[in-house]
Symmetry: C2
Subunit: 329 residues, 2 copies
């Protein structure tokens, strides 16, 4: 019997509590495995009238799950008003993340799903990491250079080499070393978590038409091509650099398992254009399985019962599937 | 009775002749209006066994069209081998473009559709314009700063502010003036050619998450926001800058008529991801209607009878629809 999945609720004033509750409501229809939430139970009760059950140990989740949403209670000092984030809520989201990571690392949970947090709020309470991904990597003892963020929907997986940078800084931050590191993490992740023995990775160019042989920028030739050669020497099947605009249509998508992209929007535009309501963010390169719904706290719609749980459901399902594959290794 | 549409065949060694012939084959099934090709008739015969009829005047096209593909013959000095471009073919594609533009400007044709050419080949024969668009603009007496390239499929229209530049040069080339010029051309084009009285234009940010209030790059605040204010002062309905990754999913697409994008791949990735086989490139800001299929010469598959005519069919239909709207103004 696999252990349950741990879901950190995210910011209690965001849509995290609501979409976790809605995911529990859909547990049978979606065929989801047992999970438990970590966070302030009152944040769930503030937006949802369904059954909630406080548990103190993940071992209790399995028995409780059919009849109520199990929550490991981490009381927030604040009042938790949906849509009104405060510093107590930010601290609570950080405590929940810390505990959920620990439970997953210990094996008490089979995978970690993280709800949406507000970085601005976290920074206000002294959070020193760039985001949840970097925090989780550190707690797992892995350098954040060696992990990679994968965005995925039913028909496309992309991994950006650079992420939260001004577009102006992308060309100089793009080095062959970084491309190799992310390409390697992508290949290993596809093997380990997705069970793809010989992953095929398509690499997008940086410039329009991948630079047209240097006519529109040299990076494709000078930085990307050498990185692909190094990846091939390691036995990783990579193609490219491809013209990014023609890389994501259906016929092309059938020819690779993941696309390695050079910057944030190049990776996220195609995934969110195709799979907006079910986009999942997954961290590759960790010793644990970690996913999250690929959207933010959406404070402006919190507590209105209109948030879609599609991406959270997809994040839980992806985490469960990947954890099952990893457990068989 | 509207005059027929003029189609410049493009490079005779590319897939242009084949997809024009295939478009003629589909004329009834697709409900296409009369059109005639301009170029080397032998290039069509080299790849297609259907009926071709040499005409010397667009006025003959209408009567001829039901039974044969009308072609205004411009003999190439070369041999026209599919897949083997040569300089005679490049000259021929340029002559065909020149004549087709002239016939459309004179009113002998109701709209212009241009087949794919090879820029590298054109440059070799002394072509001094950046591309066909700039050539057409000059012949129409319009500064190329005032025209805009629109990429479109059935569910999305995008207009890039900057186009064929290395990504590194985009931030510095992006000025408020350029954004205003392209925004204006987009609004006028949507009104004139698309019959949308009060067009809604969504503007993409340059940086990830549109810069997050300056945390990831200043251009969204310092360059794009002032441009949007100027466009609003002119009575143009613009929103943004929007986070580009969440701008192109179905629910967002229903909220605007066109998206103004900051660079090539930002505009082309979503259109080609959604509508690869039917992508149309349209030039806004000209006194004539001009479209083209949004793909290249594809020399590598020329003459193999495997090229899809989907984009050429869409280009002809779009040209016909827009010409009909313009004729009613």
């Amino acid at each position: 019997m696999p252990t349950p999945i741990a879901i950190a609720l995210g910011d209690p004033a965001g849509i995290g509590p609501e979409i976790v509750a809605k995911t529990w409501e859909r547990r049978e229809a979606e065929g989801l495995p047992s999970f438990f939430a970590v966070g302030d139970l009152r944040a769930v009760e503030a937006v949802w009238r369904g059954p909630v059950s406080a548990i103190s140990d993940p071992g209790e989740a399995e028995a409780c799950f059919p009849g109520a949403l199990p929550v490991i209670q981490l009381e927030s000092g604040g009042t938790t008003v949906p849509g009104a984030p405060d510093l107590d809520g930010a601290r609570n989201s950080l405590d929940a993340l810390e505990l959920a990571v620990g439970l997953t690392r210990s094996g008490a949970a089979s995978a970690l799903v993280t709800g949406p947090v507000s970085k601005a709020q976290l920074y206000s309470v002294g959070f020193v990491h760039a985001g949840q991904t970097e925090f989780v990597a550190e707690r797992c003892g892995v350098s954040s250079d060696l992990v990679a963020m994968m965005l995925l929907g039913p028909s496309l997986k992309t991994v950006p080499v650079t992420v939260h940078l001004p577009l102006r800084d992308v060309p100089d931050m793009l080095t062959s070393d970084r491309i190799v590191a992310k390409g390697r993490a992508t290949a290993r992740g596809l093997q380990r978590q997705w069970g793809i023995e010989s992953p095929r990775i398509a690499v997008a160019g940086l410039n329009p038409h991948a630079g047209e042989d240097g006519a529109m920028g040299r990076e494709d030739l000078d930085v990307i091509v050498p990185a692909l050669e190094r990846l091939r020497e390691e036995g990783i099947e990579v193609t490219g650099p491809h013209s990014a605009d023609t890389l994501f249509h259906a016929a092309m998508r059938s020819r690779y398992d993941a696309a390695l992209c050079m910057y944030h929007d190049q990776a996220l535009i195609p995934v969110k254009t195709l799979h907006f309501d079910e986009g999942v963010n997954m961290t590759l390169g960790l010793p644990i399985v970690r996913t999250s719904p690929d959207h933010g706290t959406a404070f402006e719609i919190a507590g209105k019962d209109i948030a879609s749980a599609g991406a959270m459901i997809a994040a839980v399902r992806t985490a469960a599937d990947c954890a099952e594959r990893v457990s068989r290794l």
